[in-house]
């Protein structure tokens, strides 16, 4: 009887709770261990270290820790040679193998396979081909595919950056050459000069289709906004109003250019319709309004204003013109860039009581600000199109360099450049046609 009752009680309690549910609300977010096995080179000529570029891309994303080649118990090139226990023994979660071969059409094809060690299955098969000059694009395409499979967000390794090198605004005399507008791969490779000027060049901004760059030049002695067409290498002056013409920012649909003009007396935010050339004034305030940037859906602009006595981030709605202050933490918040999914704003931030400027991330929903960088004098944050990484300008041993930090703040690295002094970075949108950049 006792036993039966106890059984009934156990049954009852288990019925009350149904199936046990355990809730996990925290994690460690350690990098995921991956092995990039040296690829089999079956092609006659492989001009680039494809596997090395892929490994470097994945490492720089900060999401992966790479198993050194000397720790690999074997180096398979085909699925049949992948023994999961071997990889499990060295605590690797994913294994990437690949082969590089001539595809018979004068191109070199890289084929990769990605394996999930824990679940013992192949999760990705991908291949990309290109000419001798396109092999870095091939490698970045492989990185993008692997990154997307493993993280759920597209990779941004195939994108470009634009930046300015040369004399800086502090009158640095150690630089022998003039100001140059440059573009390069996001890893700093394949640097290319677009134009050179004896006068300052500022604020490069990519068009959404990555075929044009808007920028500010002082070549006439005073600021004017230009658009550089990457396809034709032709540039065109867009605005040269009296006073300030600065901080161009392309709308997500590519039709409008937001900018700062001071033709009415003090700097305000304007939006120029590139088709009709109609100008619309978005802010009217005696304070300084500057550094406009679009929300990903184009419905509003965020900008910096000192109307409250110190620079803070505001937002103006495109349809209604309604203005709203967004930042309340710290005594300096400027140069806002909104993440593509609208979840956060990257900005330059100075905390109350400190003198250093850092790159910080404000969570839009919660309003909390987290400082991402430890460097000082950080400037010009620009966000990767996938929202995973922030590129910014900072100073190192008295010279301007470009540095990157992941949005979670865990990974920081510097972008190599041949130039003496680099600043004003702008991360390109996704690029649909890579041969576009090879033609010039």
């Amino acid at each position: 009887m006792r036993y039966v009752l106890m059984c009934m009680l156990v049954l009852l309690s288990s019925m009350v709770r149904a199936e046990l549910t355990i809730e996990i609300t925290q994690g460690q977010d350690n990098p995921v261990a991956i092995a990039v096995v040296p690829f089999a080179a079956e092609a006659t000529e492989v001009p680039e270290d494809i596997q090395g570029i892929v490994a470097a891309d994945l490492y720089r994303s900060g999401r992966f820790s790479l198993l050194p080649a000397y720790d690999m118990l074997s180096q398979p090139h085909t699925e049949a040679d992948v023994f999961y226990n071997e990889w499990r023994a060295v605590e690797v979660e994913y294994v990437l193998i690949g082969r590089i071969a001539n595809d018979g059409f004068g191109r070199i094809r890289t084929s990769v396979e990605l394996f999930d060690v824990l679940r013992q299955s192949k999760i990705l098969e991908y291949s990309a081909a290109g000419g001798v000059l396109e092999q870095r694009d091939v490698a970045h395409a492989v990185s993008d595919a692997v990154f997307e499979k493993l993280t759920g967000m597209p990779g941004a390794f195939s994108t470009k950056i634009a930046y300015v090198s040369g004399k800086n605004e502090f009158g640095d005399t150690s630089v022998s050459y003039n100001n140059r507008l440059m573009i390069a791969d996001v890893d700093g490779a394949r640097e290319r000069q677009l134009l050179e000027s004896s006068q300052p060049i500022l604020s490069p901004s990519w068009s959404p289709d990555a075929t044009k760059i808007a920028y500010v030049s002082f070549e006439d002695g005073r600021p004017a906004i230009y658009i550089y067409d990457l396809a034709t290498n032709v540039r065109q002056k867009i605005t040269a109003f009296p006073g300030l013409n600065s901080a161009p920012a392309w709308s997500p649909d590519g039709r409008y250019l937001a900018m700062v003009l001071s033709k009415s007396g003090n700097p305000d935010i304007y939006v120029l319709d590139l088709e009709t050339r109609k100008l619309r004034q978005m802010t009217k305030h005696y304070g300084i309004d500057t550094e406009p940037s679009w929300l990903p859906d184009g419905s509003a602009l965020v900008y910096t204003s000192d109307r409250a006595g110190q620079p803070q981030i505001y937002q103006v709605d495109m349809a209604t013109g309604y203005e709203e202050r967004l930042t309340f933490d710290g005594n300096y918040n400027a140069r806002a860039r909104v993440l593509l999914d609208g979840s956060g704003i990257v900005l330059i931030h100075r905390s109350e009581g400190y003198s250093d400027f850092h790159i910080a991330l404000q969570n839009i929903e919660r309003g909390t600000i987290k400082v991402l960088t430890t460097t000082v004098l950080d400037e010009s944050p620009t966000v990767a199109p996938n929202g995973s990484t922030v590129l910014y300008a900072t100073r190192d041993n008295g010279r301007g360099i470009l540095a990157a930090v992941s949005v979670d703040g865990n990974v920081k690295y510097n972008i190599p450049s041949n130039a003496r002094d680099v600043r004003e970075p702008a991360w390109s949108p996704y690029i649909s046609d890579h041969t576009f950049f090879l033609k010039q």
Binding site: M8, S14, T25
Partner: protein, 244 residues
Amino acid sequence: MRWWRVNGWPMVLTVAIHIAVVWMVTVGWSSETAFSQPVSKPSLIKATVVDLAKPPKTADKKKTSTKTTAKKTSPKPKPVPKKTPLTQPAVKSATKPTQKPVEKPPEPKPSKPEPRPAVTPSPMDIDLSAALAEEDAAREAESEQDLVNSYIAKIMAMVESVWSRPPSARNGMQAILVVNLIPTGEVVNVSVAESSGNAAFDTSAVNAVYKVARFDDLQGMKGAMFEANFRRFRLMFKPEDLRL
């Protein structure tokens, strides 16, 4: 908007507290009653109160009442049935007298008193011991629940220590996995019962369980507890500590 900034959080907080109180009152009590139900209160009360109060008087009255007032009491059937069951407990200690009252009542009124005396003595014996057993069981279940909770905490810690969220993960995402274990704590199967809508997020959760591979702390658990709770359970992944 500014009004909302100032009053928003306090409002949300008060509403949340109200909801919490209502939830505690309703859900919390219902579970308590579910546990206390098996303990049958009425039998306990009868046994203790009545037993010692009127054993001698009732015994005397019964004999007289049953004999003399057989016809008189017929219009008043209420006192008779009440008394007869009351006498029974007293009689219990001395088992011989019970036979007489039991035999006699059937003659005047067999319809009402009979079922009671027949039923009451047996439940009382059993109910007492059963209630005690149930109390013990409830207490045991309570400590057992504590033990289960400690195992849950261990499982949580082990999974949290190896869960690497993908960069696309956001606070508020939610995936539910069904995990199957064997008594050694080894994971034999993990399946996604409810997807977060983000494949990489789901995969990161599944991989976290596979990375644990074996919940060592579950070894040595009592078989019944394992079967009831951990043979198959659900793991809900719902990050709250992300930056975005």
